[in-house]
């Protein structure tokens, strides 16, 4: 990659990009082996009671359009490759939110023979949301925490 000194034009563009990213991150959801509990709670955050879209967060289908990967469950051996592929297809900068106890430690499935491990065993994770499953409020809080860290200038 070519590197050059930041021009004023480049700086302004970066600022604009950061502003857009924080105000409307697009998320992709992947279930890498969870029991479904976290997935229905993620879906519930979209619905009128919780309405995560008021933060500009949109759940959509393609990894190529996504900024945030919301990932649930422990990683099974079969879905490991697919999880890596989705992660690699996402454009930089990309962020990963691990939802649920299984994503943190393997949870109730820890030690089962078809489990690779938690999500951080496969891809780097930015935010962990604990709970089995976490409440929709907790999921929203976790994602907002992620957005807060983006506001700070990168050291």
């Amino acid at each position: 990659m070519e590197t050059s000194l930041p021009t004023p034009w480049q700086q302004a563009l970066d600022k604009l990009r950061d502003w857009a990213r924080i105000n409307s991150p697009w998320a992709i959801h992947y279930n890498s082996g969870s029991c479904n509990g976290c997935d229905i709670e993620i879906l519930a955050t979209l619905t009128p009671r919780y309405d995560i879209e008021r933060f500009g967060i949109k759940l959509q289908g393609s990894p190529r359009h996504a900024d945030v990967l919301i990932c649930t469950g422990p990683v099974t051996r079969q879905s490991r490759d697919r999880l890596l592929r989705i992660y690699e297809q996402m454009p930089d900068p990309k962020f990963v939110v691990a939802v649920g106890s299984c994503g943190i430690s393997g949870g109730a499935f820890r030690g089962c023979y078809n489990i690779v491990g938690d999500i951080s065993a496969v891809i780097p994770v930015n935010v962990y949301i604990p709970g089995c499953p976490p409440r929709p409020e907790a999921i929203i809080y976790g994602v907002v925490q992620l957005l807060e860290t983006l506001k700070k200038p990168v050291a």
């Binding site: 992947y30 279930n31 509990g37 229905i40 619905t47 879905s79 499935f109």
Partner: protein, 390 residues
């Protein structure tokens, strides 16, 4: 000369339609689907084998996490089976509370499905409305047991939570509200023209086909299949509080909507009946830590159909073998049948029409050729898994 070209449309495992991973390959000619291949197993975690390394109580919590949507029925099936092995029966009040929570869970599951199926049909307004109303029943479940999903209300030998007067009133209020809304949904699903265009005559299964493919639950009942474990082999307190069978004859998607929504009314009625006649008794019976040797079959009716548990004990504090047969896998066969000849655009509706739940159905199937039958140990399976996906 016009050449017909055959395309294969791959979908999944990550796709915007369903929230769980499953891989489908539709071969299409033009817009018509000519063949389907389904690849499952992305969420196979090895729960049955995992239970063999855990104590009976730990296994209860593991089986609750087979599926987050119908967690209560899994735990109920396991607890009922273990109680039968121990020759203990849970006290009547505990059984009634199990039944009550089971029906609340059915309401939550059917409303969830109504929303998801409407979403697949491009009817997002209904999705948002039904999920908004579903929050009512989620609140009730949270009030009863402190968690919105994975209630863990079951213990081996009883239940953890009692229902007091305030909770009883809250449940009755919630059920009244939901009943009113369900009338509205029934009206929409049976009269709305755009909706009928997507559902009437789509994905039709005749009674014969449904029997042939072994369809269970509301999907089978929509084809006129008169089977419901709650009626055929009453468990918990379904013998004291009988349910009426809800069936339809048409067998298409509309019939499945119809059956599931009418089952909601049956659940509302049952919940009121149980709350009015809640028996007084203890909440738990004592279950020994070491379960006597023996084997048992335990059947319950999950929101998606018959759930079957086979439990074998060798007298130790861990199960020797647990086999789970979930309704979703039984219904997949019907998709391969109905999909052929349908339009590609109808596929999301047909897929969601059976109310698929991938975390339930991703189980290891070991096809034995010849008679090289062998018992796989934990280490064998682990090595096999690591080798397979290397």
């Amino acid at each position: 000369m016009e050449e017909t070209k055959k395309f294969i449309v791959p979908i999944g495992p990550q796709h915007p339609a369903l929230k769980e991973p499953g891989h489908f390959e539709f071969s299409v000619e033009g817009e018509i689907v000519t063949g389907v291949s389904i690849r499952l197993g992305y969420v196979h975690r090895g729960i049955e084998k995992g239970a063999e390394n855990r104590s009976w109580v730990q296994s209860l919590y593991l089986f609750e996490r087979v599926c987050g949507i119908c967690s209560h029925v899994h735990a109920t099936a396991f607890a009922l089976g273990v109680e039968k092995l121990c020759n203990v029966s849970a006290p009547p009040r505990a059984q009634a509370i199990r039944t009550l929570v089971g029906e609340l869970e059915r309401i939550h599951s059917h409303m969830l499905w109504l929303g998801v199926a409407a979403h697949e049909g491009g009817f997002d307004t209904l999705f948002m409305y039904s999920w908004r109303d579903r929050e009512t029943v989620m609140d009730l479940l949270e009030m009863l047991c402190g968690n919105r999903v994975n209630y863990s209300i079951n213990l081996l030998g009883g239940v953890k939570f009692d229902i007091d007067h305030a909770q009883r009133d809250a449940i009755l209020r919630g059920v009244d509200f939901l009943e009113e809304r369900s009338h509205h949904y029934l009206k929409i699903c049976t009269t709305d023209r755009t909706f009928l265009g997507r559902t009437r005559g789509v994905g039709t299964m005749t009674r014969e086909q449904a029997d042939e493919f072994g369809m269970v639950g509301p999907t089978g009942r929509a084809s006129g299949n008169k089977r419901d474990v709650r009626i055929d082999a009453p468990y918990a307190s379904y013998a004291e509080f009988p349910v009426k069978l809800v069936t339809a004859e048409a067998g298409d998607l509309m019939a499945r909507f119809d059956v599931r929504i009418r089952e909601l009314f049956e659940s509302f009625r049952l919940i009121r009946l149980i709350l009015d006649n809640l028996p007084q008794s203890e909440l738990t019976a004592r279950v020994p830590r070491r379960v006597p040797a023996g084997e048992v079959v335990s059947r319950v009716e999950a929101p998606r159909g018959e759930l079957f548990y086979y439990i074998k004990s060798n007298g130790s504090d861990q199960p020797e073998r647990v086999k789970v047969r979930t309704p979703s896998l039984c219904n997949w066969g019907s998709v391969t049948q109905t999909a052929v000849g349908s339009k590609l655009a109808d596929m999301p509706m047909i897929l969601s029409g059976i109310d698929p739940c991938f975390s339930c159905n991703d189980r290891l199937v070991n096809i034995q050729r010849g008679d090289n039958s062998q018992v796989w140990t934990w280490e064998d399976l682990r090595r096999y898994g690591i080798e397979y996906y290397r």
